[in-house]
Point group: C2
Chain length 255, copies 2
DNA sequence: GCTTGACCTTGACGCAGCGTCAACCCTGCA
DNA sequence: TGCAGGGTTGACGCTGCGTCAAGGTCAAGC
């Protein structure tokens, strides 16, 4: 007769594993000796080795029993099923590897490549890092909300950068952030004028209606607005724009 | 301001996941409104999306924090590390697939191929299934105890099958199991004679000493003996062998 | 006969990442 | 005012054991 330790060592498993198999009903609890020790015979070793063999092949414990007393047909069906599950897990992990590799190579966490490219252009024209980082956050939101449209949005934004006034606008922001208060008193109204000029053009060419189609979720627009309003400059600008008849920020509308 | 449901839906995760992230400290618990509801802002959405992005790439939650505020170098080291872990898991699963395939194709659970081949030969010479199944169990034990030597053991056993007396011995067992009591009274002493004859030869050619080298674990020998003693025929045979000066079963010795 | 160390016992938490009740409160709309 | 559809905390479930904790038991050496 064997103790649990001898059983476990003959079968090449841990004592804890044996007790676990008792607990889940894979092996019946054996007789106890006078002092309460479990006593095993050779058949228990054989059964335990069979269990171990299946477990080491990736068979979930919950299905080991069914495989142990399966006929050839049932057995091969079950192994085929388990193999499918193993393949699925492997595919999942490979997908993880793909994503990890993308993150490692990619510019910045959680933004699609198109956004990263756009942000690089914005940086190139001299926008401050503070703004770039704020834009990145905003576009992360947009990309999560409209994953299919983010590429089109970025095309639009890149085209807008061709307008020298847009470039001037970003550069003004840069000057504002590094400059002193006094200078900013000129700057902000100038920027408002610039924006109004562009808004009028956009309205004339029908671009404002296109905006309506894209940004149909007003709660989401409010959310993006709320991010921008973290900066006093935006608040100030929106005030001036409102005086000139334009409201909104993420989504621009005539008052 | 957002509720937890809105936050979760913007970020594309479940409410339960958000609460879990609070619990493990990945996201700080936000302010509550008058009625105890959690209230979130846009930054929370951004943070949550970043977390989701990492989690979906297979980064363990415990390391997400560290990756979120890592510089480029730390980040790439960490992702390399995680990729190694993913590869290791994939290898493990592939090993499981290999084993499952072996089991599916193999003759019988948990026996090495050499044993399965030997058992097939035993079956071919007309041994009864009961004995084959008992032999299989015994060899499962031996293979687990001496994995490196099992192939050599099988070579020995296959060679033994070339002796016509061994074949006759197995066939006698077959007759015994199917025959009636009266006939067995002759059979068992005959079998004992046959065994003694072979033992004497083995002793003369020095094969018994080789046995000593292989079976050095006396507790294990006892274990195997105990399996055989499940059958009254073995008990009877051992009695007769003992009278003729031979003791043991798994390991044969002169009295 | 006593100590020592190795082995046995049960019980319970821990791990990863949430899913899924349960039982109850809050809010907005008809 | 009632109801549907949010929200809240709390706790168990899943997988396969590892790892304490707090003992009782056994064999061996003194």
């Amino acid at each position: 007769m064997l103790t649990i330790g001898q059983l476990a060592s003959y079968a090449g498993v841990t004592i804890r594993a044996v007790r676990h198999y008792h607990q889940v009903g894979l092996m019946p609890e054996p007789e106890r000796d006078a002092s309460g020790y479990r006593t095993y015979d050779a058949d228990a070793v054989v059964r335990l080795i069979r269990i171990r063999t299946l477990a080491e092949a990736g068979v979930p414990l919950a299905r080991v029993q069914e495989l142990l007393d399966a006929d050839a047909k049932t057995f091969s069906e079950a192994t085929a099923q388990i193999d499918r599950e193993l393949r699925a897990k492997i595919r999942e992990l490979q997908e993880h590897r793909r994503r990890i590799a993308q993150l490692a190579s990619g510019d910045s966490l959680a933004v699609p490549e198109a956004v990263a490219d756009y942000l690089e252009m914005v940086r190139a024209i001299g926008a401050p890092e503070l703004l770039i980082s704020a834009e990145r956050d905003a576009w992360i939101l947009v990309a999560a909300r409209y994953p299919d449209q983010i590429a089109a949005f970025m095309e639009d934004k890149v085209r807008q950068l061709e307008d020298p006034r847009v470039v001037r606008f970003y550069q003004s922001i840069s000057r504002m952030l590094s400059g002193d208060e006094k200078e900013n008193e000129h700057l902000v109204p100038e920027m408002a004028d610039l924006l109004v000029e562009m808004f009028e053009e956009a309205a004339a060419s029908g671009q404002l209606e296109q905006q309506d189609l894209n940004m149909d979720d007003s709660a989401f627009v409010q959310l993006l607005d709320s991010m921008a309003e973290g900066h006093p400059m935006v608040v100030q600008l929106r005030q001036l724009l409102a005086e000139r008849g334009w409201i909104g920020w993420t989504k621009i509308e005539r008052a």
